[in-house]
């Protein structure tokens, strides 16, 4: 394979922490895992939390630190959602890998090399319930020679018997301060200039998701060169400018249906994604003070219905128009029920 261009490597990969102690803000899990490194004793683990908080990074880092580059290939099996993970794979591939015994722990090249293998199941919440059930006994039978790391966003989608076999760790969303530190570090390395305003914009649009923040940063750097303003970041992130959402709300408050219809048409023609629009409307509606709680509740209800419809693939224009009409009726205290519906 031809040598890779430096710029083609995503920064997310380039700046992924290589050691467990570098993982930011997740103190408990770091403490437990550093302990593991010393004693080579490790339970089954279950990492859960929102995206971009370092779950996969931590799992990969501990695996690398335990085995080193040489043994890594033979000792670690990594499966994620794009690999086939039906019940067949659990019965054959995972079971076969788990069953293999490994040599007793000897230190090789400064790595602890404990006498067990690790299976990392990334995005485990997308595994079917059957596949998860098939894992139960496998985990116990081979617990002498194999440790499982489950990684997921929603712990509620992991069946209880699996969850109870693991030590659970919740990964917290990163606070702004820690995120800015990390971003600034990358900016220094890459020779970018970022003022405080764009830094805080970046933190707010990425909502505690460090991976997203870094991806946006790289996208903006590619498009706009080395000095990045907060406007550039917003355009890369696909976020909708505040003026557009404000115009929609203003049109709703005016009570004029045709005006609102025009605004909705405008949003569609500008190509803003409606799912994003709904999310931003939601944030705005919840935050403002001049809307009563009942009105807020009505608006949120219509937002949730529209969101579901969009996921089902319904038309963006019609759904947004419906939301706007509902919002208008809520804000202008028109009756919520239709009078002519028989």
């Amino acid at each position: 394979m031809a040598p890779l261009l430096q710029s083609s490597q995503p920064w997310v990969e380039k700046y992924r922490p290589k050691q467990v102690k570098d993982v930011a803000h997740q103190d408990e899990v770091v403490r437990v895992l550093t302990n593991t490194l010393e004693t080579t004793n490790c339970p089954h683990m279950l990492f859960y939390g929102p995206p971009g908080t370092g779950k996969t990074t931590t799992a990969l880092a501990i695996a690398h630190q335990l085995y080193g580059p040489e043994l890594y290939k033979s000792r670690v099996l990594e499966l994620n959602a794009s690999d086939d993970r039906g019940i067949n794979v659990v019965r054959t591939k995972i079971k076969d890998f788990a069953a293999v015994a490994v040599g007793s722990g000897q230190c090789q090249g400064g790595y602890p090399c404990p006498p067990y293998k690790i299976i990392i199941l990334d995005e485990a919440d997308s595994m079917t319930e059957d596949a998860q059930n098939a894992l139960r006994r496998t985990m116990e039978t081979y617990s002498k020679v194999t440790r499982f790391f489950f990684i997921c966003n929603y712990i509620s989608r992991i069946i209880e018997p699996l969850a109870s076999r693991c030590a659970k760790f919740r990964f917290k969303p990163l606070p702004e301060e820690i995120m800015s530190n990390r971003i600034l570090h990358i900016c220094n390395e890459e020779g970018l200039t970022l003022d405080t305003e764009s830094l805080s914009t970046l933190s707010s649009i990425s909502q505690g998701d460090l991976r997203r923040a870094i991806t946006y940063l790289q996208g903006a750097a590619r498009l706009f060169g080395s000095s990045i303003s907060s406007k550039d970041l917003i355009s890369v992130s696909g976020a909708i400018p505040v003026e557009v959402t404000e115009a929609i709300i203003a049109a709703c408050k005016s009570g004029d249906f045709d005006l609102a219809n025009k605004e909705v048409n405008n949003v569609i023609a500008e190509g803003y994604p409606v799912s994003q629009m709904l999310a931003q409307l939601f944030e705005m509606v919840v935050a403002v003070d001049d809307i009563s709680d009942e009105q807020k509740a009505r608006i949120c209800k219509s937002l949730s219905t529209a969101d579901k419809c969009l996921v089902d693939g319904a038309d963006e224009y019609l759904q947004l128009l419906d939301v706007v009409s509902n919002t208008m009726r809520a804000l202008c205290n028109m009756p919520q029920d239709f009078s002519y519906d028989v």
């Binding site: 394979m1 031809a2 690999d83 590619r222 249906f257 190509g271 002519y340």
Partner: protein, 354 residues
């Protein structure tokens, strides 16, 4: 050759409408490398034009020599083999395809065919530009499984292959894919921009444009540049030299829809419903997509209705469009919407006039 194709900008320098985006794209590929890209925007806004111009910027003139290929792929799916037919448009450096054509089997296209294409690295004598580009159309129509399979492909073969995805609404593309691409929003051109393009074409063709004529064409086009140019050409064929009050012919299906709409307003009865049903069938037979019919129907109705009815009608339009998406037969849901409207309107009339 139609004007739409004749005056399609071939390079990023010739672009009239999205100059800023074109500049950025040019900057993006100067480093001999580009990230995965996701273009999204309403139809007729110029996504495809920009993609073709971008390919030409990357690969030079060879990107324009494309050949159409119709191939059957045999895919081994566990217990059975599936035959998939797929039309691709390819040059030496890029392949363009619409994976959603395969319907519910699109997952196999992504998992097998795209993977296969992505793996093969183009051989280049100079050792430069060692990647190929896959252009995927209509990614928003891909099923969820297909989109999930796509994301790993994007990462794994990123050394030898770049994906350019193109879709109408990015809401229907999963977050996982969006976050792996550089998103490029292509907005529909503003009316004054359309006027500028029309005047440009008029100048090239040596036409006399009466003042305000281009503006009227642009106004009728719903901010779709393609449509504006098409109807501009129609006007040219119908009558030249242009007169300043020349009528701009609407699409015939649109006229038909507004006819249906006035039918519905005039009489609300089972008999009328039956007639409307026939007309709706007529539209569907002529390959007008049902959601477009419904949207047009709504916009025609909104023009004529009283303020208090608008909310109600637009709610039901959204409701039945959603049902249509979930269901199988579009005609049922279109008809249900018509029936619902009739019932609501009748109740309104009785209440108002007794």
């Amino acid at each position: 050759m139609l004007w739409v194709d004749k005056y399609r900008p071939k390079t990023l320098d010739q672009v009239i409408v999205h100059q800023e985006i074109a500049e950025n794209l040019k900057k993006l590929v100067t480093e001999q490398d580009c990230p995965h890209l996701l273009f999204y925007g309403p139809s007729g806004s110029g996504k495809k034009t920009l993609i073709m111009a971008l390919l030409r910027q990357i690969f030079g003139i060879s990107a324009e020599k494309v050949k159409v290929e119709n191939r059957t792929w045999k895919i081994d799916a566990g217990s059975r083999t599936i035959d998939l037919e797929l039309t691709t448009l390819s040059s030496t450096n890029h392949v363009e395809l619409s994976p959603s054509d395969a319907g519910f089997q699109d997952r196999y296209i992504v998992q097998e065919i795209i993977k296969e294409m992505a793996k093969n690295r183009p051989i280049d004598t100079k050792g430069r530009k060692g990647y190929k580009v896959l252009v995927l159309n209509e990614v928003d129509k891909l099923s969820r499984e297909a989109q999930h399979s796509l994301r790993r492909t994007m990462e794994k073969y990123s050394a030898s292959c770049r994906l350019i995805l193109c879709c109408n609404s990015s809401s229907k593309v999963t977050e996982a894919i969006r976050s792996r691409c550089l998103n490029v929003r292509i907005n529909a051109p503003k009316e004054d921009q359309i006027v500028k393009v029309l005047e440009f074409i008029g100048k090239k063709e040596g036409l006399q444009l009466p003042p305000g004529f281009a503006a009227r064409v642009a106004d009728k086009s719903n901010r779709s540049l393609r449509r504006a140019i098409l109807s501009f050409e129609t006007c040219r064929v119908q009558q030249y030299p242009f007169s300043s009050n020349q009528a701009i012919p609407p699409m015939d299906w649109e006229e038909y829809v507004s006819e249906i709409c006035s039918d519905m307003m005039r009489e609300q009865s089972p008999k009328r419903l039956f007639q409307v049903r026939g007309k709706l069938y007529e539209l569907l037979i002529n390959c007008i997509p049902p959601e477009i019919i419904l949207k047009k129907l709504l916009s025609e109705l909104l023009k004529k209705l009283d303020e208090e009815l608008k909310h109600e009608v637009c709610h039901w339009a959204a409701y039945y469009e959603h049902r249509m998406r979930m269901g199988q037969k579009a005609i049922f849901h279109l008809e249900a919407f018509v029936a619902k409207f009739m019932s609501v309107y009748k109740a309104f009339l009785i209440e108002t006039f007794g």
